[in-house]
Amino acid sequence: MPVRISTEANTMTAFLSGEIDHHSAAAIRDAIDTQIQINRPKLLKLDFSEVTFMDSSGVGLIMGRYKNALTFGGRTEVANMPAFAEKVMRLSGLEKIIRFYKEK
């Protein structure tokens, strides 16, 4: 499974991995949304450190989770976007509405 989810207090973290495209995004989306529904997190953290490829489907995936988390009053943050995916992110303008940051 290209996503592993862990919950701690009010924070839910989804660790995405592998190649993110239109095909793989479907399963990732379903897995995260199911857990948002159950946990209703105050903070949804999407961790991209293990992602090896990403096209614009990744933008839709982040945007969709952002909206879904918001439905339950949660906010979304994106951690550890790999360098190769930053070009796609800049095109998207997502950084204007979502916090992106790196952890060591």
Binding site: E19, D21, H22, H23, S24, A25, A26, R29, F53, M54, D55, S56, S57, V59, G60, L61, M63, G64, F84, K87, V88, L91, S92
Partner: protein
């Protein structure tokens, strides 16, 4: 300019083939000894074009994706991704950032990504005839 190698791939427009198509093209382009970043650029733009064939071109029937990749002696790679699907009414509008006709989670950034990840993007389309996208990427490569 001389074509030093050429491949053509025809494959079912199924989402399970997205990864296969971009890897098939990227592996072929690898012969030009690209940097990791150049190869990722090719992979990403091919992925967008292939996904469009799968998501947009064939709403009703099961269709095919037609890919041609040509490598030139001067380091140019030219990849064409074509479908015989519904085509695009207004190509100029379709190429605008964030424009999408699809629901779901399409971002409308496919063409923007293809444009900024390549050196030249050509889109030819006609309703009822299909769509052909050509991505040119100059590979400077590791050696240079």
């Amino acid at each position: 300019m001389q074509v030093i190698n050429e491949m053509k791939l025809v494959i079912d427009a199924l989402s399970v083939n997205e990864g296969y198509c971009r890897v098939a093209v990227a592996t072929f382009v690898s012969q030009l000894d690209p940097t990791i970043e150049e190869l990722n650029d090719v992979k990403t733009s091919v992925s967008e074009a292939v996904t469009n064939c799968i998501v947009h071109a064939y709403p009703k029937k099961r269709g095919k994706i037609y890919i041609t990749a040509r490598l030139y002696a001067d380091g140019l790679s030219r990849v064409t991704i074509k479908d015989r699907g519904i085509g695009i009414e207004d190509v100029k509008k379709a190429r605008e950032p964030l424009f999408t006709t699809a629901g779901g989670e399409r971002s409308g950034l496919g063409f923007s990504v293809m444009e900024s990840f390549s050196d030249k993007l050509t889109v030819r389309s006609k309703p009822g005839w299909g769509t052909s996208v050509t991505i040119e990427k100059r590979i400077a490569g590791k050696g240079k």
